[in-house]
C-alpha cells in the first residue's frame, strides 16, 4: 500500500460550516460521492507469440488478473471540482466508469447521490452525466439541436426550462450558429462543446468528465475552462475530471486526486501538493551579458544557462537569504521566482510510484 495523504474532506466541510455559524449556516450534508475499498479486477488473456503457441492457446488460454482499481477510498462533497490525475492505465477511467454505473466493481462499495451506480436506477441516471472525450452522444448525421431535443424527452425536461438552459449553455460556449449544422461537419472542438451542452441540459448534479480537452486547441481549451468554471459555480455541481493537462487542473480544480496503479497516492488541495512535494523554487535571472562559467560556479546552485539567462534551483528554506545575495551581483537585469511547474511535480509522483511498484515486484 502506497502512502496516502488523506485530505479529510468531512472535517473541512465541518470547519467551513462552523466558520460561517449563524442563521445562514448550511447543515453538513452527506458527501455526494462516497467510495470505500473499491476494487476492480479484470481477467485478461495473454496471447503468446508465434503460430504454434497461438494454436495451443486455442485449447488452453493463459489468463491473469489485472487490478485496475485496488482499494480506493474517496469522498466528494457537493459542489467540489476534483481532478483525477494519473498516468495511462492508472485506473482513472475505470473509476469513472464504476461511478457512472457502466461497470460493476469486484469489491467495495460506492454511492453517488445516494444510489449504487451500477444498479442503474433511472432516478439516478437522470441526475448525473458522463462525458467521455471522443465518444459521441450526439447523432452524427443530424444537427445537434435534434440530439438536444431527444435529451429533453429522455431526461423529461420541462419545455420552457429546456429552452432556457439550452440557450444559456449554447451562448456561454458561443456555439449557437452550430446547433443547426450536421454534427459530422463540425470540428473536434466544436463537437466537444456541443457534447458538453448535451450533457448539461438536464442540469445534472454530478458530472464526470473524462479528458474533455484532449486534442483541442488552446482557444477551445480556454473557452471550455471558462464555461465549466461558470456552470459549476452557478449550479454548485459536483464534478470529477480526469485529464493529462495540468492546465485543466490549474484552471478548474481546487482538489487533486493522484491515482497510480489503481491506488490513491495523493488526495488534497492543489496548493498543498506544491508545498508537500517540492523542496526548491525556480529562480530565473536575466543577466546583462552571457555569463562566464566562473561566475556561474560562484552562484553555487545547480543551474542551467540559456544565453544571458540563468535558471537556478534554490532550496526553499534558503531562498530568502539567497535572493539578496544574487541581486547584489552586478549585471542582473531581471529576476523571477516560481514554483516548480505542476507537470514536474506530478511527473515525479508518477515516476516514484512506478519505481516503488517495480521494487515491490522485485522483492515478492
Amino acid at each position: 500500500m502506497a502512502a496516502v495523504f488523506t485530505y479529510t474532506h468531512q472535517m473541512h466541510n465541518a470547519a467551513v460550516a462552523v466558520g460561517k455559524a449563524g442563521p445562514l449556516t448550511q447543515p453538513v450534508t452527506q458527501p455526494v460521492i462516497q467510495v470505500a475499498g473499491l476494487a476492480k479486477e479484470y481477467r485478461v488473456f495473454d496471447k503468446p507469440e508465434g503460430l504454434s503457441a497461438s494454436v495451443r492457446a486455442l485449447f488452453h488460454r493463459q489468463s491473469r488478473l489485472v487490478e485496475a482499481v485496488r482499494g480506493v477510498d474517496l469522498e466528494v462533497g457537493r459542489g467540489e471540482f476534483v481532478a483525477l490525475l494519473g498516468p495511462n492505465g492508472a485506473g482513472k477511467t475505470t473509476l469513472l466508469k464504476i461511478l457512472s454505473g457502466i461497470i460493476t466493481p469486484t469489491r467495495g462499495a460506492a454511492t453517488v447521490l445516494g444510489h449504487v451506480p451500477w444498479e442503474r436506477a433511472d432516478d439516478f441516471r437522470r441526475r448525473f452525466a458522463l462525458v467521455m472525450g471522443q465518444r459521441n452522444q450526439l447523432w452524427w448525421d443530424l444537427p445537434a439541436a435534434e440530439s438536444f431535443r431527444l435529451h429533453q424527452e429522455i431526461y423529461r425536461i420541462e419545455p420552457t426550462r429546456f429552452a432556457r438552459t439550452r440557450d444559456e449553455l449554447v451562448d456561454l460556449l458561443g456555439v449557437r450558429k452550430l446547433i443547426l449544422q450536421p454534427v459530422r461537419e463540425l470540428s473536434l472542438g466544436e463537437r466537444m462543446k456541443l457534447e458538453l451542452v448535451a450533457s448539461l441540459l438536464h442540469e445534472p448534479e454530478v458530472l464526470f468528465l473524462d479528458e474533455p480537452t484532449i486534442g483541442l486547441d488552446v482557444v477551445a481549451q480556454h473557452t471550455i475552462h471558462a464555461f465549466l468554471r461558470h456552470v459549476q459555480e452557478e449550479r454548485r455541481m459536483t464534478v470529477i475530471l480526469t485529464t493529462h493537462y495540468m492546465k485543466d487542473v490549474a484552471a478548474l480544480c481546487k482538489r487533486l486526486v493522484v491515482i497510480t496503479g489503481g491506488e490513491i497516492l495523493y488526495d488534497g488541495s492543489l496548493a498543498e501538493i506544491v508545498d508537500r512535494f517540492t523542496t526548491h523554487k525556480i529562480v530565473t535571472l536575466d543577466l546583462d551579458a552571457e555569463p562566464d562559467p566562473a561566475r556561474i560556479a560562484r552562484l553555487g546552485f545547480p543551474c542551467e544557462v540559456r544565453g544571458p539567462r540563468v535558471v537556478l534551483r534554490i532550496d526553499r528554506t534558503r531562498i530568502a537569504d539567497a535572493l539578496p545575495e544574487l541581486l547584489r551581483d552586478a549585471g542582473v537585469l531581471d529576476v523571477s521566482v516560481e514554483d516548480v511547474p505542476l507537470e514536474e511535480i506530478v511527473a515525479e509522483l508518477f515516476r516514484s510510484a512506478a519505481r516503488r511498484s517495480q521494487a515491490e515486484e522485485a522483492t515478492p
Partner: protein, 292 residues
C-alpha cells in the same frame, strides 16, 4: 428528475415513455432521410435477384412437361417470389445485428447504460423509422413491378385472407426485429459475430422460403418418423419472414390451419422478445463485469 431528489419529474406519467419513443422515431426518420439516395438505389437493386429467379423457373418449367411443380404453376412461382419480396420488406433487418454488435465492440453502447433510456425500445423506434422511410421510397417501384406482373397473380383473395396477410406481415416485422436483435446481442459474448450472422443468413435463406417455397419440402422425410422436412420447418420461426405471408395471399394456407400458424408466429414473437430482453440483461451484466 433534474431539480433534486424530492422534486417530481416534469413530464412524467403514463405518456412520458410514449413521448420519448415518438421523439426517437421522428429523429430516426430524419436521420434515415439523410441516406435517401442509398435507400432508393438499394430498393432498385433488390429487384434484380427476382429477375434471375423468374428466368430460372421459366427454364425449369420449359424443361418439364408438367404444368406444376409441387402445386406451383409458373405463374404461381412468379407471384410467390414477388410476394416474398414484400414479406422481406417487412421482416428483413439489414444491419441490425451487426449494428448492435458494433456498438458493443466500439463502446457506443455505454450511452444506453448511462442515460435513462431503454436500448431495445430505441432500436425498435429507429427500425420502424428505417422501415417507414423505406416504404415511402420503395412504394412506387413496388407498385410498378406488381402492376406489370399483375397477370401472374390469382384473383384478389377475400377480406379475411387479406386481413390475415396483413397480420402475418406485421408479425413478421416483429419476429424479424427480435430475432436479429437477439442475434446482435450475442456480441456481448463474442468479439465478432459476422460469421454467426452469415450462418444465420444462410439458414434463413434456405428455411424462410426466400429460395424456394418451403412446402416443396413436404415429400422429404426429416428423419423423425412420420414427419417431413416441411413439418419441421413449419415449427421454426424462419418461414414467417418470407414464405408464410406469401402462402397466405396465394391461399395455400386457409381456415383453422391459418389460425394455428398465426398463433405459432405470435408465439415466436413473444419468445424472441423475451429472449432479446434476457440477452440484453445478461449481456449488460457481463459487459459491466468484464470491463465496459
Amino acid at each position: 428528475m433534474s431539480v433534486g431528489p424530492d422534486a417530481p419529474a416534469p413530464g412524467a406519467g403514463p405518456f412520458a415513455g410514449l413521448r420519448i419513443w415518438w421523439t426517437m422515431l421522428v429523429i430516426s426518420i430524419e436521420e434515415r432521410l439523410v441516406y435517401r439516395g442509398d435507400f432508393a438505389l438499394g430498393t432498385l437493386m433488390r429487384f434484380l435477384p427476382i429477375v434471375t429467379q423468374v428466368f430460372l423457373w421459366t427454364a425449369v418449367f420449359s424443361a418439364t412437361s408438367r404444368g406444376d411443380i409441387a402445386g406451383y404453376s409458373r405463374n404461381d412461382i412468379v407471384a410467390y417470389y414477388l410476394l416474398t419480396m414484400l414479406s422481406r420488406a417487412f421482416s428483413s433487418m439489414p444491419g441490425l445485428a451487426t449494428g448492435i454488435a458494433r456498438s458493443i465492440r466500439d463502446g457506443s453502447i455505454k450511452k444506453f447504460l448511462v442515460q435513462p433510456v431503454d436500448y431495445v425500445s430505441f432500436l425498435f423506434a429507429s427500425r420502424i423509422a428505417h422501415k417507414l422511410v423505406y416504404y415511402v421510397v420503395a412504394a412506387a417501384p413496388f407498385a410498378l413491378v406488381f402492376f406489370v406482373c399483375r397477370s401472374f397473380f390469382p384473383p384478389l383473395p377475400d377480406a379475411m385472407t387479406v386481413a390475415a396477410f396483413g397480420a402475418a406481415l406485421g408479425l413478421s416485422f416483429l419476429l424479424g426485429f427480435f430475432l436479429e436483435a437477439t442475434l446482435g446481442m450475442l456480441g456481448f459474448w463474442f468479439l465478432e459475430i459476422s460469421s454467426l450472422v452469415f450462418g444465420y443468413m444462410l439458414v434463413q435463406y434456405l428455411l424462410s422460403g426466400h429460395m424456394f417455397p418451403i412446402d416443396m419440402l413436404a415429400g422429404i422425410p426429416s428423419g423423425i418418423p412420420g414427419t417431413s422436412l416441411a413439418d419441421v420447418v413449419s415449427w421454426l420461426p424462419f418461414q414467417f419472414t418470407a414464405y408464410f405471408p406469401a402462402a397466405v395471399w396465394l391461399g395455400k394456407i386457409q381456415g383453422a390451419e391459418l389460425g394455428r400458424m398465426l398463433l405459432v408466429e405470435a408465439g415466436w414473437v413473444v419468445v424472441l422478445a423475451i429472449g432479446c430482453r434476457f440477452a440484453w440483461r445478461r449481456g449488460t451484466r457481463r459487459y459491466s463485469a468484464f470491463g465496459g
